[in-house]
Amino acid sequence: MTEHALASLSAELDDVSLARSRDLRRQRITTVIRYTVLTLVGLIMIYPLVWLIGASFKTNSEIFANPGFWPQNPTIDGYIKGWKTSTPYSFGTFFLNTLWIVLPKMIGTAISCTAVAYGFARFEFPFKKLLFATLIATLLLPNVVTRIPQYLLFRDLGWLDTFLPLWVPSALAGDAFFVFMLVQFLRAIPRDMEEAARVDGANTWQVLVFIIIPLLMPALISVCLFQFMWTMNDFLGPLIYISSKNSRYRWRSSCRSTRPKRSNGTVCWPCRCWR
Protein backbone atom coordinates (compact mmCIF):
# COMPACT_ATOMS: atom_id res chain seq x y z
CA MET A 1 0.00 0.00 0.00
CA THR A 2 2.67 2.47 1.08
CA GLU A 3 4.90 1.31 -1.76
CA HIS A 4 2.13 2.03 -4.20
CA ALA A 5 1.55 5.46 -2.71
CA LEU A 6 5.26 6.25 -2.87
CA ALA A 7 5.47 5.16 -6.50
CA SER A 8 2.55 7.33 -7.48
CA LEU A 9 4.02 10.22 -5.52
CA SER A 10 7.38 9.99 -7.28
CA ALA A 11 5.61 9.71 -10.64
CA GLU A 12 3.71 12.88 -9.81
CA LEU A 13 6.93 14.64 -8.82
CA ASP A 14 8.45 13.63 -12.16
CA ASP A 15 5.45 15.11 -13.93
CA VAL A 16 5.83 18.36 -12.02
CA SER A 17 9.54 18.71 -12.78
CA LEU A 18 8.88 17.82 -16.42
CA ALA A 19 6.17 20.45 -16.62
CA ARG A 20 8.43 22.97 -14.92
CA SER A 21 11.29 22.41 -17.34
CA ARG A 22 8.82 22.65 -20.24
CA ASP A 23 7.57 25.92 -18.77
CA LEU A 24 11.11 27.20 -18.43
CA ARG A 25 11.90 26.32 -22.02
CA ARG A 26 8.73 28.02 -23.25
CA GLN A 27 9.58 31.07 -21.20
CA ARG A 28 13.07 31.17 -22.67
CA ILE A 29 11.62 31.00 -26.19
CA THR A 30 9.18 33.86 -25.56
CA THR A 31 12.03 35.90 -24.10
CA VAL A 32 14.07 35.33 -27.24
CA ILE A 33 11.10 36.30 -29.41
CA ARG A 34 10.55 39.44 -27.35
CA TYR A 35 14.16 40.54 -27.65
CA THR A 36 14.15 39.87 -31.39
CA VAL A 37 11.00 41.94 -31.95
CA LEU A 38 12.24 44.72 -29.67
CA THR A 39 15.62 44.89 -31.37
CA LEU A 40 14.14 44.88 -34.88
CA VAL A 41 11.60 47.59 -34.08
CA GLY A 42 14.23 49.55 -32.18
CA LEU A 43 16.59 49.47 -35.16
CA ILE A 44 13.85 50.73 -37.48
CA MET A 45 13.10 53.49 -34.98
CA ILE A 46 16.67 54.65 -34.49
CA TYR A 47 18.39 53.93 -37.80
CA PRO A 48 17.03 56.96 -39.72
CA LEU A 49 18.43 59.22 -36.99
CA VAL A 50 21.76 57.43 -36.85
CA TRP A 51 21.96 57.50 -40.63
CA LEU A 52 21.24 61.23 -40.56
CA ILE A 53 24.28 61.81 -38.36
CA GLY A 54 26.44 59.75 -40.71
CA ALA A 55 24.94 61.45 -43.77
CA SER A 56 25.83 64.89 -42.42
CA PHE A 57 29.50 63.96 -43.01
CA LYS A 58 28.92 62.58 -46.51
CA THR A 59 29.21 64.31 -49.86
CA ASN A 60 25.98 64.98 -51.76
CA SER A 61 26.51 62.18 -54.21
CA GLU A 62 27.27 59.69 -51.46
CA ILE A 63 24.09 60.50 -49.54
CA PHE A 64 22.07 59.02 -52.38
CA ALA A 65 24.32 56.07 -52.97
CA ASN A 66 25.35 54.80 -49.56
CA PRO A 67 22.72 53.41 -47.20
CA GLY A 68 25.38 52.67 -44.57
CA PHE A 69 26.31 54.80 -41.60
CA TRP A 70 30.05 55.35 -42.19
CA PRO A 71 30.93 57.98 -44.79
CA GLN A 72 33.48 56.79 -47.36
CA ASN A 73 34.99 60.25 -47.81
CA PRO A 74 34.14 62.07 -44.61
CA THR A 75 33.79 65.83 -45.01
CA ILE A 76 32.61 68.63 -42.76
CA ASP A 77 31.64 70.70 -45.78
CA GLY A 78 27.97 70.33 -44.87
CA TYR A 79 28.54 71.93 -41.50
CA ILE A 80 30.55 74.81 -42.95
CA LYS A 81 27.92 75.54 -45.59
CA GLY A 82 25.17 75.04 -43.05
CA TRP A 83 26.74 77.57 -40.69
CA LYS A 84 27.17 80.12 -43.51
CA THR A 85 23.69 79.42 -44.95
CA SER A 86 22.81 80.68 -48.41
CA THR A 87 21.75 84.03 -46.96
CA PRO A 88 23.88 86.95 -45.77
CA TYR A 89 23.24 85.74 -42.23
CA SER A 90 24.95 82.93 -40.40
CA PHE A 91 23.27 80.03 -38.65
CA GLY A 92 23.92 81.86 -35.37
CA THR A 93 21.52 84.66 -36.34
CA PHE A 94 18.74 82.19 -37.05
CA PHE A 95 19.43 80.31 -33.88
CA LEU A 96 19.42 83.44 -31.69
CA ASN A 97 16.14 84.55 -33.26
CA THR A 98 14.62 81.17 -32.47
CA LEU A 99 15.84 81.38 -28.87
CA TRP A 100 14.39 84.87 -28.67
CA ILE A 101 10.99 83.35 -29.47
CA VAL A 102 11.39 80.24 -27.34
CA LEU A 103 12.79 81.52 -24.02
CA PRO A 104 10.27 84.30 -23.24
CA LYS A 105 7.46 82.00 -24.32
CA MET A 106 8.73 79.25 -22.04
CA ILE A 107 9.08 81.56 -19.03
CA GLY A 108 5.65 83.09 -19.64
CA THR A 109 4.10 79.65 -19.86
CA ALA A 110 5.71 78.45 -16.64
CA ILE A 111 4.63 81.50 -14.61
CA SER A 112 1.07 81.84 -15.90
CA CYS A 113 0.27 78.13 -15.90
CA THR A 114 1.51 77.75 -12.31
CA ALA A 115 -0.68 80.60 -11.08
CA VAL A 116 -3.74 79.30 -12.92
CA ALA A 117 -3.18 75.71 -11.83
CA TYR A 118 -2.82 76.92 -8.23
CA GLY A 119 -6.13 78.75 -8.57
CA PHE A 120 -7.88 75.66 -9.91
CA ALA A 121 -6.37 73.20 -7.46
CA ARG A 122 -6.58 75.11 -4.16
CA PHE A 123 -9.52 77.52 -4.27
CA GLU A 124 -13.28 77.43 -4.37
CA PHE A 125 -14.90 80.23 -6.34
CA PRO A 126 -17.98 80.89 -8.44
CA PHE A 127 -18.08 79.26 -11.91
CA LYS A 128 -15.16 76.98 -11.05
CA LYS A 129 -16.71 73.95 -12.75
CA LEU A 130 -17.60 75.94 -15.86
CA LEU A 131 -14.10 77.38 -16.10
CA PHE A 132 -12.52 73.97 -15.68
CA ALA A 133 -14.81 72.67 -18.43
CA THR A 134 -13.53 75.42 -20.75
CA LEU A 135 -10.00 74.22 -20.03
CA ILE A 136 -10.86 70.72 -21.22
CA ALA A 137 -12.77 72.15 -24.19
CA THR A 138 -9.72 74.22 -25.20
CA LEU A 139 -7.67 71.06 -25.02
CA LEU A 140 -9.93 69.43 -27.60
CA LEU A 141 -10.67 72.50 -29.73
CA PRO A 142 -8.85 72.32 -33.07
CA ASN A 143 -6.67 75.42 -33.52
CA VAL A 144 -7.76 75.54 -37.14
CA VAL A 145 -11.02 77.23 -36.15
CA THR A 146 -9.57 80.15 -34.22
CA ARG A 147 -6.47 80.74 -36.32
CA ILE A 148 -7.91 83.17 -38.86
CA PRO A 149 -9.62 85.54 -36.38
CA GLN A 150 -6.49 85.42 -34.22
CA TYR A 151 -4.47 86.51 -37.23
CA LEU A 152 -6.92 89.36 -37.86
CA LEU A 153 -6.75 90.35 -34.19
CA PHE A 154 -2.95 90.48 -34.22
CA ARG A 155 -3.06 92.47 -37.44
CA ASP A 156 -5.42 95.03 -35.89
CA LEU A 157 -3.20 95.27 -32.83
CA GLY A 158 -0.22 95.90 -35.11
CA TRP A 159 1.52 92.79 -33.79
CA LEU A 160 2.25 91.11 -37.10
CA ASP A 161 5.96 90.75 -37.85
CA THR A 162 6.74 90.93 -34.14
CA PHE A 163 7.10 88.05 -31.70
CA LEU A 164 4.11 89.17 -29.65
CA PRO A 165 1.58 86.80 -31.31
CA LEU A 166 3.83 83.93 -30.26
CA TRP A 167 4.52 85.19 -26.73
CA VAL A 168 1.30 86.72 -25.45
CA PRO A 169 -1.19 83.83 -25.75
CA SER A 170 1.23 81.56 -23.88
CA ALA A 171 1.87 84.20 -21.22
CA LEU A 172 -1.91 84.17 -20.60
CA ALA A 173 -1.90 80.43 -19.91
CA GLY A 174 -3.10 79.67 -23.43
CA ASP A 175 -1.61 76.18 -23.42
CA ALA A 176 -4.40 74.34 -21.65
CA PHE A 177 -2.40 71.12 -21.68
CA PHE A 178 0.18 72.53 -19.25
CA VAL A 179 -2.44 73.98 -16.90
CA PHE A 180 -4.20 70.62 -16.82
CA MET A 181 -0.93 68.80 -16.17
CA LEU A 182 0.01 71.09 -13.28
CA VAL A 183 -3.47 70.85 -11.76
CA GLN A 184 -3.16 67.06 -11.74
CA PHE A 185 0.26 67.37 -10.07
CA LEU A 186 -1.01 69.80 -7.45
CA ARG A 187 -3.92 67.54 -6.57
CA ALA A 188 -1.45 64.84 -5.61
CA ILE A 189 0.50 67.11 -3.24
CA PRO A 190 -0.78 67.04 0.38
CA ARG A 191 -1.91 70.39 1.80
CA ASP A 192 -0.33 70.01 5.27
CA MET A 193 2.62 72.30 4.64
CA GLU A 194 0.44 75.01 3.11
CA GLU A 195 -1.94 74.91 6.05
CA ALA A 196 0.95 75.15 8.49
CA ALA A 197 2.27 78.17 6.60
CA ARG A 198 -1.17 79.78 6.66
CA VAL A 199 -1.38 79.29 10.41
CA ASP A 200 1.98 81.03 10.72
CA GLY A 201 0.50 83.99 8.88
CA ALA A 202 1.58 83.53 5.25
CA ASN A 203 -0.83 84.78 2.61
CA THR A 204 -1.78 82.73 -0.46
CA TRP A 205 0.81 84.46 -2.60
CA GLN A 206 3.60 83.56 -0.16
CA VAL A 207 2.31 80.00 0.00
CA LEU A 208 2.50 79.83 -3.79
CA VAL A 209 6.03 81.21 -4.01
CA PHE A 210 7.64 79.55 -0.99
CA ILE A 211 5.83 76.21 -0.78
CA ILE A 212 3.97 75.28 -3.95
CA ILE A 213 6.62 76.27 -6.49
CA PRO A 214 9.50 74.37 -4.82
CA LEU A 215 7.27 71.29 -4.54
CA LEU A 216 6.17 71.68 -8.13
CA MET A 217 9.70 71.99 -9.55
CA PRO A 218 9.89 68.58 -11.25
CA ALA A 219 6.58 69.22 -13.02
CA LEU A 220 7.63 72.76 -13.93
CA ILE A 221 10.84 71.50 -15.45
CA SER A 222 8.90 69.12 -17.66
CA VAL A 223 6.53 71.95 -18.64
CA CYS A 224 9.56 74.03 -19.66
CA LEU A 225 11.12 71.14 -21.57
CA PHE A 226 7.94 70.36 -23.49
CA GLN A 227 7.29 74.00 -24.30
CA PHE A 228 10.90 74.44 -25.40
CA MET A 229 10.67 71.47 -27.75
CA TRP A 230 7.27 72.30 -29.16
CA THR A 231 8.15 75.94 -29.77
CA MET A 232 11.48 75.01 -31.35
CA ASN A 233 9.53 72.78 -33.71
CA ASP A 234 6.67 75.20 -34.28
CA PHE A 235 6.46 75.92 -37.97
CA LEU A 236 2.99 77.26 -38.63
CA GLY A 237 3.05 80.05 -35.99
CA PRO A 238 6.14 81.87 -37.28
CA LEU A 239 5.08 81.07 -40.85
CA ILE A 240 1.83 82.98 -40.39
CA TYR A 241 2.80 85.79 -38.05
CA ILE A 242 6.33 86.81 -38.99
CA SER A 243 6.54 86.04 -42.65
CA SER A 244 5.79 89.23 -44.56
CA LYS A 245 8.47 90.51 -46.92
CA ASN A 246 8.85 93.93 -45.33
CA SER A 247 9.11 92.74 -41.77
CA ARG A 248 11.89 93.54 -39.35
CA TYR A 249 12.08 89.91 -38.38
CA ARG A 250 12.33 88.02 -41.53
CA TRP A 251 11.72 84.47 -42.49
CA ARG A 252 13.84 83.00 -45.17
CA SER A 253 13.74 79.86 -47.10
CA SER A 254 17.28 79.19 -47.92
CA CYS A 255 16.98 76.61 -50.62
CA ARG A 256 19.69 74.02 -50.75
CA SER A 257 21.08 72.53 -53.84
CA THR A 258 21.47 69.17 -52.11
CA ARG A 259 18.20 67.81 -53.28
CA PRO A 260 17.14 64.41 -54.47
CA LYS A 261 17.43 63.94 -58.21
CA ARG A 262 14.17 63.86 -60.13
CA SER A 263 12.24 65.00 -57.09
CA ASN A 264 9.69 67.75 -57.36
CA GLY A 265 10.70 71.02 -55.78
CA THR A 266 13.54 71.83 -53.51
CA VAL A 267 14.31 71.01 -49.93
CA CYS A 268 13.81 74.20 -48.02
CA TRP A 269 15.05 75.04 -44.58
CA PRO A 270 12.68 77.53 -43.15
CA CYS A 271 14.49 79.79 -40.79
CA ARG A 272 14.12 83.18 -39.31
CA CYS A 273 16.54 86.00 -39.47
CA TRP A 274 16.68 89.45 -38.09
CA ARG A 275 17.19 92.22 -40.53
Partner: protein, 294 residues
Protein backbone atom coordinates in the same frame (compact mmCIF):
# COMPACT_ATOMS: atom_id res chain seq x y z
CA UNK B 1 -8.92 78.51 2.83
CA UNK B 2 -11.01 80.30 5.40
CA UNK B 3 -10.78 84.04 5.77
CA UNK B 4 -9.95 84.62 2.11
CA UNK B 5 -12.42 86.21 -0.22
CA UNK B 6 -14.25 83.65 -2.31
CA UNK B 7 -13.10 85.54 -5.36
CA UNK B 8 -9.39 85.10 -4.55
CA UNK B 9 -9.16 82.01 -6.76
CA UNK B 10 -10.49 84.02 -9.67
CA UNK B 11 -7.61 86.44 -9.19
CA UNK B 12 -5.15 83.62 -9.84
CA UNK B 13 -7.20 82.57 -12.84
CA UNK B 14 -7.35 86.09 -14.30
CA UNK B 15 -4.63 85.56 -16.95
CA UNK B 16 -6.36 82.39 -18.10
CA UNK B 17 -9.79 84.06 -18.23
CA UNK B 18 -8.40 87.02 -20.19
CA UNK B 19 -6.62 84.69 -22.61
CA UNK B 20 -9.67 82.47 -22.96
CA UNK B 21 -11.86 85.42 -23.92
CA UNK B 22 -9.43 87.25 -26.19
CA UNK B 23 -7.67 84.37 -27.93
CA UNK B 24 -10.25 81.57 -27.90
CA UNK B 25 -13.87 82.51 -27.28
CA UNK B 26 -14.07 85.72 -29.31
CA UNK B 27 -12.06 84.30 -32.26
CA UNK B 28 -14.28 81.22 -32.16
CA UNK B 29 -17.43 83.33 -32.62
CA UNK B 30 -15.83 85.64 -35.19
CA UNK B 31 -14.67 82.62 -37.18
CA UNK B 32 -18.25 81.36 -37.41
CA UNK B 33 -19.40 84.82 -38.55
CA UNK B 34 -16.59 85.09 -41.12
CA UNK B 35 -17.60 81.76 -42.62
CA UNK B 36 -20.81 83.45 -43.82
CA UNK B 37 -18.97 86.35 -45.42
CA UNK B 38 -16.78 87.28 -48.32
CA UNK B 39 -13.64 88.82 -46.84
CA UNK B 40 -10.36 89.43 -48.62
CA UNK B 41 -8.67 91.71 -46.03
CA UNK B 42 -8.89 94.72 -48.37
CA UNK B 43 -12.45 95.79 -47.63
CA UNK B 44 -14.86 95.05 -44.79
CA UNK B 45 -16.45 91.57 -44.71
CA UNK B 46 -19.57 91.30 -46.87
CA UNK B 47 -22.29 89.03 -45.51
CA UNK B 48 -23.15 86.46 -48.15
CA UNK B 49 -25.28 83.99 -46.22
CA UNK B 50 -24.70 80.37 -47.09
CA UNK B 51 -22.80 81.13 -50.31
CA UNK B 52 -19.47 79.82 -49.02
CA UNK B 53 -20.98 76.55 -47.88
CA UNK B 54 -22.97 76.11 -51.09
CA UNK B 55 -19.80 76.69 -53.12
CA UNK B 56 -17.94 74.20 -50.90
CA UNK B 57 -20.37 71.36 -51.31
CA UNK B 58 -21.53 71.86 -54.88
CA UNK B 59 -18.84 73.56 -56.95
CA UNK B 60 -15.51 72.98 -55.23
CA UNK B 61 -13.79 69.85 -56.50
CA UNK B 62 -10.59 70.65 -54.62
CA UNK B 63 -12.54 70.60 -51.38
CA UNK B 64 -14.10 67.23 -52.17
CA UNK B 65 -10.71 65.76 -53.01
CA UNK B 66 -9.13 67.31 -49.92
CA UNK B 67 -11.92 66.09 -47.63
CA UNK B 68 -11.60 62.57 -48.99
CA UNK B 69 -7.83 62.56 -48.58
CA UNK B 70 -8.13 63.90 -45.02
CA UNK B 71 -10.63 61.21 -44.00
CA UNK B 72 -8.52 58.52 -45.67
CA UNK B 73 -5.45 59.79 -43.82
CA UNK B 74 -7.16 59.93 -40.42
CA UNK B 75 -8.88 56.56 -40.72
CA UNK B 76 -5.67 54.80 -41.68
CA UNK B 77 -3.21 56.62 -39.44
CA UNK B 78 -5.13 56.61 -36.15
CA UNK B 79 -6.02 52.87 -35.95
CA UNK B 80 -2.58 51.80 -37.20
CA UNK B 81 -0.82 54.07 -34.75
CA UNK B 82 -2.93 52.93 -31.79
CA UNK B 83 -2.51 49.25 -32.66
CA UNK B 84 1.24 49.59 -33.11
CA UNK B 85 1.64 51.65 -29.91
CA UNK B 86 -0.34 49.08 -27.92
CA UNK B 87 1.59 46.17 -29.43
CA UNK B 88 4.95 47.68 -28.49
CA UNK B 89 3.68 48.74 -25.06
CA UNK B 90 2.63 45.15 -24.31
CA UNK B 91 6.08 43.86 -25.25
CA UNK B 92 7.79 46.60 -23.26
CA UNK B 93 5.65 45.86 -20.23
CA UNK B 94 7.86 43.06 -18.97
CA UNK B 95 10.83 42.57 -16.73
CA UNK B 96 13.45 42.10 -19.41
CA UNK B 97 17.03 43.25 -19.10
CA UNK B 98 17.88 46.54 -20.81
CA UNK B 99 14.15 47.32 -20.98
CA UNK B 100 14.83 50.99 -20.28
CA UNK B 101 17.21 51.18 -23.22
CA UNK B 102 14.43 49.94 -25.51
CA UNK B 103 11.86 52.27 -23.97
CA UNK B 104 14.15 55.24 -24.59
CA UNK B 105 14.96 54.16 -28.14
CA UNK B 106 11.28 53.88 -28.99
CA UNK B 107 10.50 57.28 -27.56
CA UNK B 108 13.27 59.25 -29.27
CA UNK B 109 11.48 59.74 -32.62
CA UNK B 110 8.47 61.13 -30.77
CA UNK B 111 10.56 63.67 -28.87
CA UNK B 112 11.63 65.10 -32.20
CA UNK B 113 7.92 65.40 -32.89
CA UNK B 114 6.65 67.56 -35.69
CA UNK B 115 10.10 68.94 -36.28
CA UNK B 116 10.87 70.34 -39.69
CA UNK B 117 14.24 68.61 -39.74
CA UNK B 118 12.48 65.25 -39.44
CA UNK B 119 10.13 66.11 -42.29
CA UNK B 120 13.16 66.99 -44.42
CA UNK B 121 14.82 63.72 -43.39
CA UNK B 122 11.68 61.92 -44.51
CA UNK B 123 11.97 63.53 -47.94
CA UNK B 124 15.50 62.18 -48.28
CA UNK B 125 14.59 58.73 -47.01
CA UNK B 126 11.70 58.19 -49.39
CA UNK B 127 13.26 59.88 -52.44
CA UNK B 128 13.61 57.76 -55.59
CA UNK B 129 17.21 56.97 -54.66
CA UNK B 130 16.69 57.44 -50.93
CA UNK B 131 17.47 55.26 -47.97
CA UNK B 132 14.25 53.22 -48.11
CA UNK B 133 14.63 52.28 -51.76
CA UNK B 134 18.30 51.42 -51.20
CA UNK B 135 17.20 49.16 -48.35
CA UNK B 136 14.57 47.51 -50.54
CA UNK B 137 17.21 46.99 -53.22
CA UNK B 138 19.49 45.27 -50.73
CA UNK B 139 16.86 42.63 -49.96
CA UNK B 140 16.13 42.22 -53.67
CA UNK B 141 12.92 44.21 -54.01
CA UNK B 142 11.99 46.71 -56.70
CA UNK B 143 12.28 50.39 -55.73
CA UNK B 144 8.96 52.06 -54.98
CA UNK B 145 7.97 55.41 -56.42
CA UNK B 146 6.99 56.92 -53.06
CA UNK B 147 6.20 60.51 -53.94
CA UNK B 148 5.08 60.01 -57.53
CA UNK B 149 2.20 57.69 -56.77
CA UNK B 150 -0.85 59.25 -55.03
CA UNK B 151 -1.54 56.32 -52.70
CA UNK B 152 2.11 55.86 -51.72
CA UNK B 153 2.62 59.57 -51.11
CA UNK B 154 -0.13 59.69 -48.49
CA UNK B 155 1.23 56.52 -46.97
CA UNK B 156 4.66 58.08 -46.41
CA UNK B 157 2.98 60.72 -44.22
CA UNK B 158 1.16 57.95 -42.36
CA UNK B 159 4.48 56.15 -41.87
CA UNK B 160 6.06 59.32 -40.48
CA UNK B 161 3.36 59.58 -37.83
CA UNK B 162 3.46 55.83 -37.15
CA UNK B 163 7.18 56.20 -36.53
CA UNK B 164 6.29 58.69 -33.82
CA UNK B 165 4.01 56.41 -31.86
CA UNK B 166 5.88 57.11 -28.61
CA UNK B 167 3.46 59.39 -26.78
CA UNK B 168 0.55 56.99 -27.25
CA UNK B 169 2.84 54.11 -26.25
CA UNK B 170 3.93 55.79 -23.02
CA UNK B 171 0.31 56.28 -21.99
CA UNK B 172 -0.52 52.65 -22.82
CA UNK B 173 2.51 51.50 -20.87
CA UNK B 174 1.47 53.44 -17.78
CA UNK B 175 -1.99 51.87 -17.97
CA UNK B 176 -0.59 48.36 -18.44
CA UNK B 177 1.66 48.76 -15.42
CA UNK B 178 -1.24 49.75 -13.20
CA UNK B 179 -3.16 46.51 -13.87
CA UNK B 180 -3.36 44.29 -10.79
CA UNK B 181 -1.06 41.26 -11.38
CA UNK B 182 -3.27 38.99 -9.26
CA UNK B 183 -5.91 39.10 -12.01
CA UNK B 184 -3.51 37.36 -14.40
CA UNK B 185 -2.56 34.78 -11.77
CA UNK B 186 -6.24 34.01 -11.16
CA UNK B 187 -6.82 33.69 -14.90
CA UNK B 188 -3.78 31.41 -15.29
CA UNK B 189 -5.11 29.13 -12.52
CA UNK B 190 -8.42 28.99 -14.39
CA UNK B 191 -6.47 27.82 -17.42
CA UNK B 192 -6.48 30.97 -19.54
CA UNK B 193 -3.57 31.33 -21.96
CA UNK B 194 -1.62 34.49 -22.76
CA UNK B 195 -3.90 35.54 -25.60
CA UNK B 196 -7.10 34.87 -23.64
CA UNK B 197 -5.97 36.86 -20.63
CA UNK B 198 -4.94 39.70 -22.96
CA UNK B 199 -8.37 39.81 -24.58
CA UNK B 200 -10.40 39.30 -21.40
CA UNK B 201 -8.32 41.14 -18.80
CA UNK B 202 -5.85 43.57 -20.37
CA UNK B 203 -8.05 45.02 -23.10
CA UNK B 204 -11.14 45.70 -20.95
CA UNK B 205 -9.05 47.30 -18.21
CA UNK B 206 -7.24 49.70 -20.52
CA UNK B 207 -10.30 50.78 -22.53
CA UNK B 208 -10.35 54.21 -20.80
CA UNK B 209 -6.82 54.83 -22.02
CA UNK B 210 -7.57 53.50 -25.50
CA UNK B 211 -10.47 55.93 -25.58
CA UNK B 212 -8.28 58.85 -24.44
CA UNK B 213 -5.58 58.03 -27.02
CA UNK B 214 -8.21 57.61 -29.73
CA UNK B 215 -9.64 61.09 -29.15
CA UNK B 216 -6.26 62.82 -28.83
CA UNK B 217 -4.75 61.12 -31.88
CA UNK B 218 -7.84 61.78 -33.95
CA UNK B 219 -7.95 65.50 -33.14
CA UNK B 220 -4.23 65.66 -33.88
CA UNK B 221 -4.44 63.74 -37.15
CA UNK B 222 -7.21 65.96 -38.51
CA UNK B 223 -4.89 68.94 -38.02
CA UNK B 224 -1.80 67.46 -39.67
CA UNK B 225 0.02 70.26 -41.45
CA UNK B 226 3.81 70.15 -41.18
CA UNK B 227 4.28 66.66 -42.62
CA UNK B 228 2.51 67.00 -45.94
CA UNK B 229 3.38 70.70 -46.24
CA UNK B 230 7.12 70.02 -46.10
CA UNK B 231 7.35 66.53 -47.53
CA UNK B 232 4.97 66.55 -50.46
CA UNK B 233 3.53 70.09 -50.66
CA UNK B 234 0.13 68.47 -51.02
CA UNK B 235 1.05 66.62 -54.22
CA UNK B 236 1.06 64.57 -56.37
CA UNK B 237 -2.36 65.30 -57.91
CA UNK B 238 -3.43 66.72 -54.52
CA UNK B 239 -3.13 63.24 -53.02
CA UNK B 240 -1.72 64.66 -49.77
CA UNK B 241 -3.58 67.96 -49.87
CA UNK B 242 -5.09 67.69 -46.38
CA UNK B 243 -7.75 70.17 -45.28
CA UNK B 244 -5.47 72.21 -42.96
CA UNK B 245 -3.18 72.91 -45.94
CA UNK B 246 -6.17 73.89 -48.06
CA UNK B 247 -7.33 76.25 -45.28
CA UNK B 248 -3.83 77.72 -45.00
CA UNK B 249 -3.65 78.30 -48.77
CA UNK B 250 -7.09 79.91 -48.94
CA UNK B 251 -6.47 82.12 -45.91
CA UNK B 252 -2.84 83.13 -46.11
CA UNK B 253 -1.97 82.76 -49.78
CA UNK B 254 -5.21 83.76 -51.54
CA UNK B 255 -6.40 85.86 -48.56
CA UNK B 256 -9.92 84.53 -48.94
CA UNK B 257 -10.59 84.62 -45.19
CA UNK B 258 -14.35 84.02 -45.40
CA UNK B 259 -14.05 80.92 -47.53
CA UNK B 260 -11.16 79.59 -45.44
CA UNK B 261 -13.27 80.03 -42.29
CA UNK B 262 -16.07 78.04 -43.88
CA UNK B 263 -13.67 75.16 -44.63
CA UNK B 264 -12.30 75.39 -41.07
CA UNK B 265 -15.82 75.12 -39.71
CA UNK B 266 -16.64 72.07 -41.82
CA UNK B 267 -13.46 70.48 -40.48
CA UNK B 268 -14.41 71.50 -36.95
CA UNK B 269 -17.90 70.04 -37.27
CA UNK B 270 -16.47 66.75 -38.57
CA UNK B 271 -14.01 66.53 -35.66
CA UNK B 272 -16.72 67.39 -33.14
CA UNK B 273 -19.18 64.89 -34.64
CA UNK B 274 -16.60 62.09 -34.52
CA UNK B 275 -15.61 63.05 -30.97
CA UNK B 276 -19.24 63.01 -29.87
CA UNK B 277 -19.80 59.64 -31.55
CA UNK B 278 -16.75 58.33 -29.70
CA UNK B 279 -18.01 59.71 -26.38
CA UNK B 280 -21.49 58.34 -26.98
CA UNK B 281 -20.26 54.90 -28.02
CA UNK B 282 -17.80 54.82 -25.10
CA UNK B 283 -20.70 53.90 -22.80
CA UNK B 284 -20.82 50.56 -24.57
CA UNK B 285 -17.15 49.69 -24.72
CA UNK B 286 -15.22 51.68 -22.15
CA UNK B 287 -14.99 50.04 -18.75
CA UNK B 288 -14.22 52.14 -15.68
CA UNK B 289 -13.08 49.90 -12.85
CA UNK B 290 -13.99 52.58 -10.31
CA UNK B 291 -17.62 52.64 -11.43
CA UNK B 292 -20.34 50.46 -9.97
CA UNK B 293 -22.08 49.77 -13.28
CA UNK B 294 -20.45 47.06 -15.36
Amino acid sequence: MSGDSRYLGLLYLSPYILGLLVFTTVPFVISLYLSFTDYNLMSAPIFTGLDNYIRLFTADRTFRKSLWVTLLYVFTTVPLKLAFALFVAVILNSKLKFINVFRTAFYVPSILGGSIAIAVLWRYMFADVGLVNMGLGMIGLEPVNWFGDPVNALFTITLLRLWQFGSAMVIFLAALQSIDKSLYEAAAIDGAGKWKSFVHITLPLITPVIFFNLIMQMVQAFQEFNGPYIITQGGPLKATYLLPIYIYDEAFKRFDMGYASAIAWVLFVIIMALTLIAFWSSRHWVYYAGDKRS
